[in-house]
């Protein structure tokens, strides 16, 4: 049991540091066991340092930085056991334009090998998706599917803030 756990731990840790390096354009992330000798007696923490910053535990990062690290952890877990099919529900919610853009580019790359279905409210994400399905609700409380929704009417666009003083 401990063997299996430690093998998964090492695999996820390796995947995490690679995925987070790409997500944060050069940052470092790793897992940390509270009790490496007896893993089942302690917990697991995620350490991350966005590029240009010192390494910190998940809880002292900003909202967006935490969600980027947590998403990298989920993707690292997924990589240990590939599936033909993934669903993601508003995973880009806390990310600014740059981060949401990088994440959706990675998903686009992964969608060559597997099917991805993602609920999103972000225009920056829609730039990468190949197909879009709209859902509307009429006053009746019944949902309807719209196969070719007009995107411009729907989602927001985030660009990194330029310092135009």
């Amino acid at each position: 049991k401990k063997e299996l756990f430690m093998k998964l731990y090492r695999d996820v840790n390796e995947n995490l540091s690679e995925i987070y390096r790409i997500f944060s354009r050069g940052g470092k992330a790793s897992l940390e066991l509270e009790n490496p000798e007896n893993p089942f007696e302690g917990g697991l923490d995620i350490k991350a340092s966005p590029s240009g910053k010192k390494v910190r535990l998940l809880k002292s990062l900003s909202g967006g930085e935490k969600s980027l690290a947590a998403l990298a952890f989920i993707f690292a877990l997924q990589q240990t056991n590939p599936s033909p099919f993934y669903i993601l529900d508003e995973v880009d919610m806390f990310l600014d334009a740059d981060n949401a853009g990088v994440v959706s580019r990675i998903i686009r790359e992964n969608s060559q090998k597997a099917q991805f279905i993602q609920v999103t409210l972000r225009k920056v994400t829609l730039k990468q998706t190949e197909h879009i399905i709209g859902v509307m609700m009429q006053n009746s409380g019944v949902s309807e599917v719209v196969m070719k929704p007009n995107i411009d009417d729907f989602v927001e666009e985030n660009r990194p803030m330029e310092v135009k003083t």
């Binding site: 089942f40 829609l126 929704p149």
Partner: protein, 170 residues
Amino acid sequence: VHLKEIELENFKTFGGKTRVPFSQGYTAIIGPNGSGKSNILDAILFVLGPKSSKSLRAENLTDLIFNGGAKGKAASYCKVSLLFDNKDRSMPLDHDVVRLTRHVKLSGSSAGYSSSFYINGEKSSLKEFDSVLTSAGILSDGYNMVRQGLITSIIETGPIERRRILDRVS
């Protein structure tokens, strides 16, 4: 194998019959708050996922049946079919299209409802579903289905609970 289409009948906010075709690659679902986006993902999980109602944001399986919305009549059953393109035969069934159907209907039994499974129209069982999905590599309890709010809960949860994620997967 990839998902070709979903057929929803009286599932949550999808009163009546609704077809949602899917393509391979990367698909987005967009729409206003409360319009039914996450309900589509719940429909997928209803067939593929853990069979408990809790994971579908419902107290009981009967809460998944269309409740009539604003002024309509509540339905007495709900049904979801997932159609998979199986040309690569990764599902051990000799069909180009595999249609997995789950059906819940109100009934007079003590539980108040009956739940049944079908493969290509023939009565099947939860066990058979699981074996067909596992051989195709479609895990329902892995982290391949990232529900709304999972990211926040991984961040907010304590280290012990976070370690348990690895316990479950290993």
